[in-house]
Symmetry: C2
DNA sequence: TGTACATCAGTGAACGCGCGTTCACTGATGTAC
DNA sequence: TGTACATCAGTGAACGCGCGTTCACTGATGTAC
């Protein structure tokens, strides 16, 4: 990221990176365009060469987050194939791993208040992430007898909700509430119990 | 809330109420002390007669939220007695009902970034809310054979996480992601499947 | 019942601050000939 | 290879704004005698 004189070289991405670090450090409210510019070694006005404004910068950070997220989820899904169960469990684990590894992106995506429908690009990235989890759920649901099979969208939503809840409540300093268990362990156990309830895991495994 | 001339009468609570409405309408970042004062029909400086500052006002809003929350949860728990299962399910439902009925409090509690350990009062209120759910879990866990019984704190955490995740992702306009199912239905189904996984509900009920 | 006075909850003006955004500009880069 | 020039990414000064907070104050309330 060495500057090359007057022209920065890759200011756009440098601003996004700075924004991510700020969001991570101070929360979505603590992030300011001016500070991001300063951290990128540039005047606030320069930001307007690359973004429409503050919101636009956050939205782009979120979009990149969704893109990474979708990749991570997809990779996890592939790594569990050809077992539907393994694929599904892997995507669950990938969720929490993502939140840990990319906290700035995670906050921009889920806590910054930026609507997923703000731009088509952003909406598309979010949809792709969502669809990986739904595909895993659909795969898995084929192993449930049709008459007691919940819609795939429903139980992908359950897993997403539990993952999200574990992250929000127990994986981050957020509410100050300390976790009674490591988040990974908690989530893995929760998903295991849930899948058993679906009849997809042997009762005493 | 009629003002009686120079002295307000109950400015402290009026400020909290105004803060709650603002937080609900504009999110935790959009809330400002000055605006809350204006809505209460008072000068910003007057706030300092009752609170140490902006943060303190939010913290008090959160504290009242936890107090209501604990009451609601406790009431739900009692209403399900003497059945451990009914009590447990009722607390799950109460969670989402609370989020819907008291969105301002909910945001102040979980999304404002205020630490639960900010003041002893706040910490105590949060702990009380938590303990209701844990008690329900402990009651219920007595029906699981000891050798396959997860710690009560763990599965109360699971239910809490799923409830929280459903609320965050599907019960609020938040991320712009629309819910595939009504949140209540989604959560109820999720908890049902989870409990079946614990062996606490008949496999085909 | 009336008066003097202490208490206290509000006012209103002022502050310094950092914010997002705009504007005319200038220095660097790259391209045509 | 050298020069003229268009393009473009940055500067830096300025703006108006609303914020949280402080301060000396004043008007209302309640109590002692």
């Amino acid at each position: 990221m060495a500057k090359r004189g007057y022209h920065h070289g890759n200011l756009r991405q440098a601003l996004i990176d700075a924004a991510l670090k700020l969001i991570e450090a101070r929360g979505p409210a603590g992030f300011t365009l001016s500070e991001a510019a300063k951290q990128a070694g540039v005047t606030p006005a320069a930001v307007y060469r690359h973004f429409e404004g503050r919101e636009d910068l956050i939205a782009e950070a979120a979009r990149q987050g969704y893109a990474i997220f979708a990749d991570v989820m997809d990779y996890a899904y592939q790594s569990g194939q050809p077992s539907a169960l393994a694929s599904f469990e892997a995507t669950g684990r990938a969720y929490i791993a993502f939140a840990r590894k990319y906290p700035g992106h995670y906050i921009a995506m889920f806590e910054s208040g930026v609507s997923v429908n703000r731009t088509p690009d952003l909406a598309h990235a979010a949809l792709r992430a969502n669809s990986v989890l739904e595909r895993a759920a659909a795969d898995l649901s084929r192993h449930i007898p049709p008459e007691k099979r919940p819609p795939a969208a429903m139980f992908s939503a359950h897993i997403w909700a539990m993952s999200h809840g574990v992250v929000e409540l127990f994986a981050r300093g957020a509410a100050g509430s300390r976790a009674p268990f490591p988040a990974e362990e908690l989530l893995e156990a929760g998903i295991g119990i849930y899948l058993r309830g679906l009849g997809l895991v042997a009762p005493d495994s």
